[in-house]
């Protein structure tokens, strides 16, 4: 596959670039590289981007775009579309460098309310589930849902389970969930429909920090199982 893409308007302030039709690490690499290119060469009126699995939403101020002397086209969305096409995006062979982080997870039943369900649904022992969940090095495909929530993939096919039929109205902060081909971490207390199989004692989102999120798009994550005592110790040392 080349560097081909299509675009569509999400709103008067956002043009979406679509780079593929599947959840795939090579499509995601295109997302990361194209996203970097746009952010490194912003146009007049550029606001921000929202990169996801196979898309990048480019947000802009339509007033600034139509007043720009540099951009050409009959309307703001046409001007942005033209600019994006003019970037001549070419995929680099070498993947963008990213950091790999260790995230401790406690799989103790107290922190894993759905581990039993997953074990029964997949007919696998709890130990086997923990082993399968901690084996891969995951990629952050997207951050969304709530501030700092990382969508990590891909999950081992043996761990694929449906979402909860009725979402929980409140999920504890640090909860690690699985749903479909994805696993993720709830950064703070929020409603949630994923099956919860563990909890991390570390903080993923702090709005008062210069870098509010621990994880960024394209980062790699390795889960390491910890016991309850260790979980409490890490939690203690961080508060």
């Amino acid at each position: 596959m080349g560097s081909g893409f299509t675009t569509y308007s999400l709103s008067e302030r956002a043009l979406v670039i679509k780079l593929g039709d599947t959840i795939d690490i090579s499509i995601h690499q295109k997302v990361i590289q194209f996203n970097n290119k746009i952010n490194q060469s912003p146009f007049e009126g550029f606001v921000e981007t929202v990169p996801a699995y196979n898309t990048i939403a480019v947000y802009y101020d339509p007033i600034a775009v139509v007043h720009s002397k540099k951009l050409e086209g009959p309307s703001a969305h046409k001007r942005v579309e033209k600019y994006i096409n003019s970037l001549n995006f070419v995929l680099e062979e070498k993947p963008v460098s990213s950091k790999t982080l260790v995230v401790p997870v406690c799989y103790d039943p107290e922190y894993a309310p759905d581990l039993k369900f997953v074990s029964e649904y997949r007919k696998l022992s709890v130990d086997k589930i923990i082993q399968l969940h901690t084996a891969p090095v995951y990629t952050v495909y997207m951050i969304g849902f709530v501030p700092g929530f990382p969508y990590l993939g891909k999950l081992d096919p043996d761990l694929i389970v449906p979402r909860k039929e009725t979402p929980r109205t409140m999920v504890d902060p640090g909860s690690v969930g699985i749903a479909g081909e994805q696993t993720g971490i709830y950064p703070f207390a929020s409603p949630g429909g994923w099956q919860l199989i563990g909890r991390t004692p570390i903080t993923l989102f702090d709005p008062l920090k210069n870098e509010p999120t621990l994880l960024r798009l394209g980062d790699r994550v390795r889960f390491v199982p910890v016991g309850k005592a260790e979980f409490l110790q890490i939690q203690e040392s961080r508060s």
């Binding site: 302030r13 929202v50 990169p51 699995y53 196979n54 709530v146 501030p147 703070f188 709005p207």
Partner: protein, 330 residues
């Protein structure tokens, strides 16, 4: 020095025009539900249009200022009384210190209160907007409650000073001699909300597509600053694909697996995985912001080109309004 809350009302928060630049880490733009009303509230007192205001959802709030204040109320969620005397919206007012301000129910849903100089709370990630779910911004990251004391800035613009000097307040409250043309807020009574087809429009059955633009829907009780659930005909999909999550924004209309529609509003999440049947034209979002549970809503189709033109026209009108106010107080 400040605004004292006596009764919180239904939902009272500090909002500005939003928090930009953090959507890639999942932080929504947020900001005023009715951005237009917030901007005009600021212009009426001589503020920069993006200054933080108090957003009231429906009625019930009671409060007073601890010093004389030049303020404006805009929007449509409440009727305003100062020491039992009714005062107009869309007008600058001079309210004396320690006079009781009460919000009584009205037709709309949201009211904005600006104060000359602006409310002074600590910005978080570049914005004073309260994002309740993330417990950040505004006043301690939460809605206002009884006894909160919200400080106001005393850094006045020339326009702030001139508008203030124009008042001669001999009673509890004085109403400015000048006012906005009622045309400025006439569009709120428009019966239809204009919508652009969503990216997954083709996923829906022909009948559902027809019903979308011909039937009436109602704002459900399950509605808040994140979004409104809409009651009405189900929007049935002819394509049963799973959508890969991508960006959604204020005004996006998503269809959940139970075929119900959700209209995303200010505190909407940054990404979503449900098919989008439509996108409300930005110029009509203030109309949506003034709808409350039980209110009807109808959609009319326009193109992205048309909605962009409408937005340009709206911005031009606001620029003209700024010029007019500046000229009057130059």
């Amino acid at each position: 020095m400040s605004l004292r809350i006596i009764k919180q009302g239904m939902l009272t928060t500090i909002q500005d025009r939003g928090r930009f630049g953090y959507q890639d880490i999942g932080v929504p733009w947020g900001g005023a539900m009715d951005d237009y009303a917030l901007r005009l509230a600021n212009l009426l007192v001589g503020n920069n249009e993006s200054e933080a205001c108090v957003e009231f959802t429906m009625a019930g709030t009671q409060m007073y200022f601890e010093e004389d204040a030049v303020v404006a109320f805009t929007g449509g969620g409440a009727r305003i009384f100062v020491n039992e005397r009714p005062v107009p919206l869309w007008r600058s007012l001079y309210i004396k210190a320690y006079r009781l301000i009460v919000l009584q129910p009205d037709q709309g849903c949201r009211t904005y209160l600006s104060v000359a100089g602006g409310f002074k709370t600590e910005p978080v990630m570049g914005s004073q907007s309260t994002y309740i779910q993330g417990k950040l911004g505004g006043w301690l990251g939460r809605s206002l409650i009884a006894n909160d004391l919200i400080p106001q800035s005393h850094q006045y613009t020339n326009q702030n000073k001139k508008i203030r000097n124009d008042f001669h307040c001999t009673e509890d409250v004085a109403i400015a001699h000048w006012s906005l043309s009622p045309l400025t807020y006439k569009f709120y009574s428009h019966p239809e909300v204009r919508v652009i087809r969503g990216q997954e429009w083709d996923w829906f059955e022909h009948d559902s597509q027809n019903e979308f633009f011909s039937e009436e829907f109602r704002i459900s009780m399950q509605s808040n600053r994140m979004g409104y659930r809409l009651d009405g005909s189900p929007m049935k999909k002819s394509i049963k694909e799973d959508l890969i999550s991508s960006a959604v924004t204020k005004g996006s209309i998503q269809v959940t697996p139970d075929n119900n529609m959700v209209l995303l509003m200010s505190d909407a999440q940054t990404t979503g995985g449900y098919p989008r049947i439509g996108q409300v034209a930005e110029v009509d979002l203030p109309i949506c912001a003034q709808l409350k549970p039980g209110d009807p809503i109808r959609f009319r189709e326009i193109s992205i080109g048309e909605s962009e033109n409408l937005l340009m026209e709206r911005e031009k009108e606001i620029e003209q309004l700024k010029d007019t106010i500046a000229l009057r107080f130059s």
